[in-house]
Amino acid sequence: VSGRAGNFSGKALVFGSILAALVLVGAYLAAGGSSYEPEKVQDPCQPRPWSNPQSLGQIANQFTISALDGAACQLGVTRETLALALTTPERREAFEKRYGIDDEKLAKAIRAGLLRAVDDAEEAGALSPLIAVPLRQTLQRIPLEQAIEIINDAQGFLSDAEGFLGPAQGVLEQLLPGGLEGLGLP
């Protein structure tokens, strides 16, 4: 075996290299180098608690998510996949082909999702039973295109529903002992 005589020994060089490699890897691991986890996609069938919405915009936000969760759970897909499928007719067609879901099945699932959203909103005190009851009856018969429109524009839908109740509001205030506030209207 031959080799050049050096200023420092081979052993020192090898140990120095091991040390340098361990320090680097250790430092990167300590700084979170192995902690990356992609954003988890949640199970749409699990309940997603509402976080005390204050404005109509916030209620609409939660309403949309609940509706998507409900529909996605029934179809056995993720909420994210369904949300993207509903954005354009082309994506919807691709989604229906890929998962073998026809319009009827999709409409049924979206109606179920919207009903879950009404239930969740009512449970969270964000929607009065006075609005929830007629909403449920309307949503049970709503055509597919309109159901998709409601998911895409929940705020407009809820605003319309509230507006519909507007003229009756004064009468109800007088008839009900605690007024509408007692029913949890936003």
Partner: protein, 448 residues
């Protein structure tokens, strides 16, 4: 000496010079990641197969003549590469270029001892020219790709190869063919198995390091080729530092072991990057650079030491190194392309989840989710800047701030996801470097 060093540097730079141009070739020639990898693989594979036969031809026909012809073929094929408008043409031209390159490099090693005075000095000049070319290749390739085009990388090689060929050609005129191949094969001792095996493994790890890092910088973090070239220059600069260390360090086997450990450590560091930040790639690159200088020179020295003729044993080292590059690329390409594809799916889901869970107006968020997923889908594997999907921003200051926060959160998710997609491949490359320790432990420089 300058012409020979230029010839060796030019050919050995060629296996790495196109690395930074690959993303551009990939898009311009409308191919896949696996397809574009063959621009590198084909060149390295042909060099690996042709190096030893080319050395035998050099011994038979005369090294100067072989080197001059090799350089001419290299230049002609370079021109064809520069004019190629299809991937298949480019790959075929690269194969021919590799044939010429193999002849030029191995014949140069045969010519060098007479030019510099000793076989040892010749081996040093040869190894240094090759290492310099390989180290500078990516940076030069990145500069040319960004400033001119990927084609310019090959077109520039044409005059450089011809410049190197002219002085060699004058020597060739006085050269006579003297030996026959059969006699040559009989006279040549066996190649140094362990040193060459270790060279192959370490080269696989180093090639993977460079290739993966460039893809991470350009495709993952959206750096331009010139920016990526500046970043990966840390590796050759560290290699220069490492070569100084080589002169002061102990025996070849220790240097080789230390180098392999540093290369593996650097690759493991790249696998565990805590953030998608360029600065954090520098310490691992320094380790890989110093490591490659130590291990390549020590193993080449061991493989060539006391063995003659130099051209043939040099051919074996060239063959091992390039075979290693091929193995590294073929082994890791399917793994990281699958990881990148998986990351793209995860990114679309994660991006949509982040947008849906955000407090942004529902009407706006559905629109954003669609635009972001569109951007992720259309960038063909490249992690996109998603800024365009967020334009125009809402005029309401509250909503505007929510949208900006969402954009930044989403981009961070995408960048971290892209970084993570390369982790398994970097770790496997690190493992290759560590496995090289076994043949290194068994390698002994044998004086024949």
């Amino acid at each position: 000496v300058a012409a020979l060093a230029l010839a060796v540097g030019l050919v050995l730079a060629d296996s790495s010079i196109v690395v930074l141009a690959l993303p551009e070739i990939y898009r311009e020639l409308d191919t896949s990641v696996s397809g574009v990898t063959w621009v590198l693989v084909s060149f390295n594979l042909v060099i690996a197969l042709a190096a030893v036969p080319a050395a035998l031809v050099a011994r038979r026909l005369g090294p100067a003549r072989t080197a001059a012809v090799g350089l001419a073929v290299f230049a002609g094929a370079g021109l064809a590469c520069g004019l190629a408008d299809e991937l298949s043409t480019l790959i075929v031209a690269r194969c021919v270029q590799a044939l010429g390159g193999a002849a030029a490099v191995t014949a140069s090693l045969e010519l060098l001892p007479a030019t510099v005075g000793s076989e040892r000095r010749a081996a040093t000049v040869w190894a240094a020219a090759g290492a310099t070319g390989a180290a500078l290749g990516p940076a030069v390739g990145g500069l040319l790709t960004e400033l001119v085009s990927w084609q310019s990388i090959f077109l520039l090689q044409v005059p450089l190869a011809l410049v190197a060929a002219v002085p060699i050609l004058t020597v060739a005129r006085h050269e006579a063919a003297t030996r026959v191949i059969e006699e040559e094969v009989r006279r040549t001792g066996r190649p140094h198995l362990w040193a060459n095996l270790a060279l192959a493994m370490v080269s696989a790890a180093i090639a993977a390091a460079l290739f993966l890092l460039v893809l991470l910088l350009i495709e993952g973090w959206r750096l331009s080729p010139i920016e990526a070239a500046a970043v990966v220059s840390a590796m050759p600069l560290a290699a220069i530092l490492g070569s100084r260390l080589t002169e002061r360090a102990g025996e070849a086997r220790s240097r080789a072991a230390a180098g392999a450990i540093l290369v593996s450590g650097g690759l493991a560091g790249l696998a565990f990057l805590p953030k998608a930040t360029v600065a954090l790639t520098l310490p691992p690159q320094i380790l890989v650079g110093v490591g490659l200088a130590l291990v390549l020179s020590a193993l080449t020295e061991t493989a060539l030491g006391g063995r003659a003729p130099q051209a043939i044993h040099g051919g074996w080292t060239i063959s091992s190194r390039h075979a290693g590059v091929v193995i590294g690329l073929l082994l890791l390409t399917p793994i990281f392309t699958a990881d990148i594809e998986q990351q793209r799916h995860d990114a679309i889901d994660a991006g949509t989840a982040v947008i849906l869970d955000s407090p942004v107006n529902p009407l706006l968020k559905i629109d954003l989710a669609e635009k972001v997923s569109e951007r992720l889908g259309e960038e063909r594997g490249k992690v996109p800047t998603i800024g365009a999907a967020f334009e125009p921003k809402p005029s309401d200051p509250g909503q505007r701030s929510e949208v900006e926060q969402l954009q930044s959160e989403l981009q961070d998710q995408l960048d971290r996801g892209a970084t993570h997609a390369f982790s398994t491949s970097f770790l496997l490359a690190a493992l290759l470097g560590l496995i090289a320790l076994f043949p290194i432990a068994l390698s002994r420089r044998v004086e024949l």
